[in-house]
Amino acid sequence: MNLSKIQLEKIRVYLDEIGFKYIDVQMEILDHIASAVEEKMTEDPNLAFQDAVNQTRVSFGKAGFTKIEKSIVKGLNKKYWKLFLQHFSSFFGIKYIWAVFLSAFGIYQLQNLISNKDNFFAVFFLAFIIFFAIQAYRGFKPLAYKRYMVYKISGTYAGYFGLFLMMVFQAIVKPSSGLLFGLNKGYLIVSILTVLFAVYYIAALKTEKDGVLESKAIADKLKLLYS
């Protein structure tokens, strides 16, 4: 026998009430419970729905659902960390390495051109303001997928940008003196850090985009269900 939409909704509400609020987490646990309940009710037609749910819940054990959620989180963290590393390292492959070097060279030359630390800092500060405006805009966008664990995890990498920016700021404010391979050491460090920051940030956004696409695939199926 198949459970009705009302019965499935009761299981979903129950999962929600006990703290499993992410749709993609709920989805997997709900299907497992519903499949088990359906089988129990098929084997014993006299078994009430709620009794079948209770029996299934007991079979999961005390930490059963939590263990599943934890394994989903652990799996997603691993998956998206690998994706993030793939995106990050792709900039150092044949396809983009020239752009990375060219950008670093451009920033180095810009510092040479401006030659005054305060003026370069002003340019950098302007870029920083623009960057923050973009970040703020992204934050204000309606978070259609905020109830998806996959979206939450894929978006975590973009959250570390402040750390990188602090390092670049520090390198500009307290530049290293001297030469390295015949180049100004201070300018070189700022160039490398700025490019690394850009690469990190683009990789983080690409990872988040992967998460959005995965969440969207589930959301689209969910729409089919309720249409």
Partner: protein, 112 residues
């Protein structure tokens, strides 16, 4: 007498990969039931052990997933990826070698 489940924890990933190699795609509950059916109830694959194994294999890229609407709910199907297929062959060989060593160590006669 049912088999001690502790004994097959180490081969859980191999079992999942093997089942998925024989079936185009499977969902979580289906895997637990398949194990129960094949072993005639001797081995019970608990949810708390199955899902961590599935999610680990998925994170490592050995499994691919699709989500579909089935019986008024969403269902996540697992299937073997290309690398998962290779991993299954390796793990199966490892398991066979291990069983052969166990037979030698414990002086067991192979079942014919």
């Amino acid at each position: 007498m049912s088999t001690n489940n502790e004994l097959f924890k180490g081969t859980l990933q191999t079992i999942v990969l093997k089942l998925l190699s024989e079936n185009d795609r499977m969902y979580g509950y289906e895997i637990t039931q398949k194990v129960k059916q094949i072993t005639k109830g001797e081995l019970m694959l608990k949810e708390g052990a199955l899902y961590p194994a599935l999610h680990k294999l998925e994170a490592e890229g050995f499994l691919e997933t699709t989500t579909e609407v089935v019986d008024n709910r969403l269902r996540k199907y697992y299937s073997l990826s290309r690398s998962g297929n290779k991993e299954m062959v390796n793990k199966l060989q490892e398991a066979k070698d291990f069983i052969a060593q166990l037979q030698l160590l414990l002086n067991l006669k192979p079942t014919t």
